[in-house]
Symmetry: C2
Subunit: 270 residues, 2 copies
Amino acid sequence: MAFDPRPIGVFDSGVGGLSVVRAIVEAMPFESIVYLGDTARLPYGTKSRETVIRYARRAARVLAERDVKMVVVACNTASAVALGALSDLLAPVPVVGVVEPGARAAVATGARRILVLATEGTVRGGAYERAIARIRPEASVASVACPLFVGLAEEGWTDGQVPRLVAEAYVAPHRTPPPEAVVLGCTHFPLLADAIAEACGSKAVLVDSAATTAAQVKARLRAREAEAPIGPPGRIELFATDGVDRFARVGGRFLGRPIDPTDVQLVNLP
Amino acid sequence: MAFDPRPIGVFDSGVGGLSVVRAIVEAMPFESIVYLGDTARLPYGTKSRETVIRYARRAARVLAERDVKMVVVACNTASAVALGALSDLLAPVPVVGVVEPGARAAVATGARRILVLATEGTVRGGAYERAIARIRPEASVASVACPLFVGLAEEGWTDGQVPRLVAEAYVAPHRTPPPEAVVLGCTHFPLLADAIAEACGSKAVLVDSAATTAAQVKARLRAREAEAPIGPPGRIELFATDGVDRFARVGGRFLGRPIDPTDVQLVNLP
């Protein structure tokens, strides 16, 4: 059995992907991680396919330069539109996105009526519909763009009437018949899980792709005999393309522990 | 009396600056305008000073290449942090921002207690406080970052309970004593004027910098004998760095008339 001590690269348009880092750390404590948040150009979710691909390629290149053994695209929008382009760019380094694991998690609930809540860019591309159809063609899938969730989650505005009313407005048109599984198709949305659950009704199981993505990362590393050797906990290196203070302040919510701004390195992308 | 038929250049991070274009067209119907929305990198309001300056310089250069006779920085955040850098870059072409006209408009109401609602970047820089203090040092000025207003305005979510509750949450801590003038310190915010007015109380006058910016543009052009000659209505050319369909769809709300996506030209910035 071989090991590979090199880090796993993870990137997102901002801090939301730190929830995937958290899941990877929980599942694989010995792995080191290099995380890049492309905060200078966030959000990706409202931008065109071409622009998201361009930004994602640049971000992935930063990780490749740090000799990562795998790249995890923790941004749903980039996973939805740029996964093929990134796989071509980075080969033979494997690339794992969050859409396919999210689709698998939704299907694994046994649901036949699935509601996907995501960004405008993710919904426009139809990636979740295609991924779910490949696994369970008979499932019925509806997708809703929920752009305001991003701002609410970033501002930490996750309790009270406002997130509940916003969730209600997005979900209400898709509640008859009620969805059985609801995919939180943006790394920001798990912070709003309570409001979303209330809007979706008691029958709906909320599906977050972070844990299933971590499981897929683990399986892929194992298959390649590329897991980290057992030892001290892995190192986490954090990079942002802008605003390290804001990255630290907002990112802590997603990583599940405070981030010291001096631990975030600024990287300038063209 | 001399004239200058060259267009006025206007830029913003996105479509909000089209409200300034609208005010310029109303005040100066013979002027032609070249508008650039830097939609590939919006929003500017959550980004660092350094990054906003970098983006604003690139956007301004696009306008300079089109031989404009003046550049209007219709983005509050860029006006607040990048006006000096842009004036240096573009000299001798004059540069007009929206912060100084907004501050003048607030003071002109006679208010002594002024509340500025703006983006995180604008509030952080304190540009409105400084501009108001220069004109009326005895005025008391408070500033609040209202990031969710941007999303609400972009999504057209301007009526009903959600914008009212969001406005209430932002304004409530600054209502004792009640503000006499409230500066809408982001080009997106005028769309939410009803909700903001309700939250601010009946004594507050809402101040939008679009009309006062147009008045300053007119005065500056007149002083330089650079107004457009009387003739047919000026031409408006629209450029965006990403997503012309979205630009047209959302931008129409700010311009006050529908925009045909085929009339928006995509310009790729590095």
